[in-house]
Symmetry: C2
Subunit: 191 residues, 2 copies
C-alpha cells in the first residue's frame, strides 16, 4: 500500500531510503466505507490524509443548510481541513467517502518531526501546496470568467478519471449548476 | 529596504547570515507609481514580488469585462500570478498599484538556485503558501456561509490597516456587493 505514496513522493523530490523509511513509518492506514464521514465540523483535526484507493468529497453547509462541494479527492491526492490542521482551530469541513476508500494518515506532530529530520519533505509539501493554491485560484477565476460548459470541460481535465465515479448531481453541485443543466451540457458535448 | 523582508523571513525560519545574504542579493527593488500596472494578462511572468511600501490590487476581468478584485496586497505581502510564474503559462491577472508602491522582485531562476543552496527557504515558502491556501479557502467558505456584514468584519481582520487606504468601491468589489450596500453596513457598525 505504501508503494503508491512512495511513487508520489518520488515524482516531486529525490530522497534517500532513510528519509522514505522515516516517512512511511509515520503513516497509518485507514479504511473508510462508502457514505462514512472522515471529518465533520467542530472536530480537532490531528491528521492529513493521502488517498491510495477510493473517492471522497469535501463540502461545507451554507447558511441555509445547502451542501457546497469544494473538492473531490481520488487516488494520489492529499486532503484534510488545512485551517484546522495547521492553525489548531475547530474544523468547518465535512469529508465523506463516495466509494469505499483507503487512506494513509499522518499526524501533525509526526509531520513536524519529519520536516526536522528529513527537510526534503519541506520541498515535497511546498510543491504540493503551491499546486493546490494555484488550482484553487484557477477555480475562482474560472467561476468568474467561464461559462458552465467551459467549467465542465475544465473539471474533466482536473479530475480525468472521476467523471464516471461521481454521481451527476455531485458534479453539478461542485460546478454550482442544476443537475438538469449539467445533463444538457453533457448531451451537447456527446453530439 | 531589505530590513523589512529580512524581518519577515526571520518570523518564519531560523537561518544563517550566509543564507540571508544569498537571498537579499537576489532581490531587485521596483518602484511603481499609483495606478500603474505591475502585471497584465498575456505576460510571461518571471518574478514574484514582496511589498515593502504601498498597496496594490490583483483582479480579473470577467466575461462581461467587469473587474473582480481577488486580493489586496500591502506591506509584508508577497504577490504575483502564481500559475503563470510556476507553470510558465501566460498570466491572466491584472496587478495595479493603488498607492505609490515599492516592491522587491525575485526571479524564477534565482528562486530555484536559492532552494538548492539555502533549503531553509523551502520551509519559508511552504509556510507562506500554506497560509495563502488557507486564506483563499476561508474566503470561499465565507462567501458561502456568511452574510455581507460578517464578511466585511472578516475583511477588516485580514487587512487590518487597509480599510482607510482603499476606496470604498474597491472593498465592495472584493466582497461582491454594491458600494451603497457596503456604506450602509459601515454606518450600522459605527452606531
Amino acid at each position: 500500500m505504501d508503494e503508491i505514496i512512495v511513487n508520489h513522493v518520488k515524482e516531486y523530490v529525490n530522497l534517500s531510503d532513510d528519509d522514505l523509511k522515516l516517512f512511511t513509518s509515520m503513516l497509518t492506514e485507514i479504511k473508510l466505507a462508502k457514505r462514512k464521514l472522515l471529518l465533520q465540523p467542530g472536530t480537532h483535526v490531528k491528521h492529513e490524509y493521502f488517498v491510495t484507493k477510493g473517492c471522497l468529497k469535501s463540502y461545507y453547509l451554507d447558511a441555509k443548510g445547502n451542501r457546497n462541494i469544494v473538492q473531490f479527492s481520488i487516488e494520489n491526492w492529499w486532503l484534510g481541513d488545512f485551517d484546522a490542521f495547521y492553525n489548531n482551530v475547530p474544523s468547518k469541513l465535512y469529508i465523506e467517502a463516495i466509494e469505499d476508500s483507503t487512506l494513509l494518515a499522518i499526524n501533525y506532530d509526526n509531520l513536524q518531526i519529519l520536516f526536522k529530520k528529513a527537510p526534503v519533505f519541506e520541498r515535497y509539501y511546498r510543491l504540493l501546496v503551491t499546486g493546490a493554491f494555484i488550482s484553487q485560484r484557477k477555480r475562482i477565476l474560472s467561476s468568474l470568467v467561464n461559462n458552465t460548459r467551459e467549467r465542465y470541460l475544465e473539471f474533466c481535465e482536473t479530475y480525468p478519471s472521476i467523471e464516471n465515479r461521481v454521481p451527476n448531481y455531485h458534479i453539478a453541485n461542485y460546478l454550482g449548476v442544476s443537475p438538469e443543466r449539467l445533463s444538457r451540457i453533457r448531451r451537447e458535448l456527446k453530439n
